[in-house]
């Protein structure tokens, strides 16, 4: 009898839970429009190659190595390897290792990637879209994180530097 009473309550409770369905490979991100806005800018020039070259020079100044550049389709891909060590995380990992008598890993190194795509838009401007992502390995050599970087400051800072390099004002698309 009691079990009969409990079942509908359980069903009602689970009905309230928000189940996050896994995203399909070709499902657009939830914030696709705002992401596009954050990642894109427009420059008043018809010289797409000049924009690509300025972006490549800027990325090289920031320590990236250019992996691929194809001006016919407006693609530039660059990457750099850097440390991912955060002192606080290492201290926590050491303490946890001592407590658990086990080697608790901490984030050790990361590969940062930048992907830039340009295309002509309208009659006198070039649209540019930048995306940044990173892969982080832990101290055991395993991949700890794979993620796209979505902090607006990163993109703002990048476009400020690019505008200075191009001597042009970046406009929102």
């Amino acid at each position: 009898m009691a079990r009969r009473a409990v079942t509908p309550i359980l069903l009602a409770l689970t009905g309230c839970l928000v189940v996050d369905t896994p995203r399909g490979p070709f499902d657009a991100p939830k914030a696709a429009a705002s992401q596009r806005l954050m990642q894109s800018r427009k420059y008043e020039t018809r010289d797409e190659v000049k924009v690509l070259h300025a972006a490549a020079a800027l990325l090289m100044d920031l320590g990236f190595n250019v992996d691929c550049m194809e001006d016919e389709v407006g693609i530039l891909v660059a990457s750099k390897l850097r440390t991912a060590v955060v002192t606080g995380d290492v201290i926590v990992a050491i303490l946890l290792s001592a407590l658990a008598r086990n080697d608790v890993p901490y984030e050790d190194r990361q590969k940062l990637r930048a992907s830039i795509v340009t295309h002509l838009t309208g009659e006198k401007s070039v649209a540019i879209r930048a995306t940044f992502q990173r892969i982080v390995w832990d101290s055991h050599g395993k991949i700890a994180r794979r993620e796209q970087l979505n902090e607006p400051e990163i993109y703002r800072d990048f476009y400020e530097k690019l505008s200075r390099a191009l001597f042009l004002e970046a406009e929102l698309p």
């Binding site: 995203r23 399909g24 490979p25 070709f26 499902d27 657009a28 991100p29 696709a32 992401q35 596009r36 992996d67 691929c68 194809e70 016919e72 389709v73 407006g74 693609i75 891909v77 990637r113 992907s115 795509v117 295309h119 879209r129 995306t131 992502q133 892969i135 794979r146 993620e147 796209q148």
Partner: protein, 145 residues
């Protein structure tokens, strides 16, 4: 007598380990040239033709579509008509798209998708990509025989 038995047992164990190692090598390397079952069916679901002869413009709309779907472009080559992209969300989703002339009036686009270590063979997934691409380039996607 006991020592003879021990030697035989040891030899058996060594042979067993060698056999296991050999089969392990075979098991992992055989994937190199292994085509998925029903290759022609897979190719058909991965390919669509568009009524356009501008391959470069098609390649650019593929790139824009992939970016809108949250992918980051890894590589692109205009003369070869190839673009590859990755999306990192806990696991990695990798897509490679090729664009080439299909007929005097149309261009074929083929997408190949891999989630983690597994190739995607679900027709609806590819359908979703071609729907998004059609919306981006205002062209209708036709099945390719």
């Amino acid at each position: 007598m006991t020592s003879v038995k021990c030697v035989i047992a040891a030899r058996g164990a060594v042979c067993g380990v060698l056999l296991a190692l050999l089969t392990a090598c075979e098991a992992s390397s055989r994937h190199l040239l292994m085509a998925p079952e029903q290759q022609s069916v897979l190719r058909a679901m991965q390919t669509r033709a568009f009524d356009s002869t501008d391959e470069l413009s098609m390649l650019r709309s593929v790139i824009a579509t992939l970016q809108d779907l949250g992918f980051v472009i890894d590589y692109g080559n205009a003369p070869l008509g190839i673009v590859s992209a990755t999306r990192l969300e806990g696991h990695s989703v990798r897509v490679m798209v090729s664009v080439k002339r299909h007929s005097p009036t149309s261009t074929a686009v083929r997408a190949s998708l891999q989630v983690g270590n597994t190739s995607v063979t679900d027709p609806l997934t590819y359908q979703e990509f071609f729907v998004a691409l059609s919306k981006g380039n205002f062209l209708t996607a036709h099945a390719v025989e």
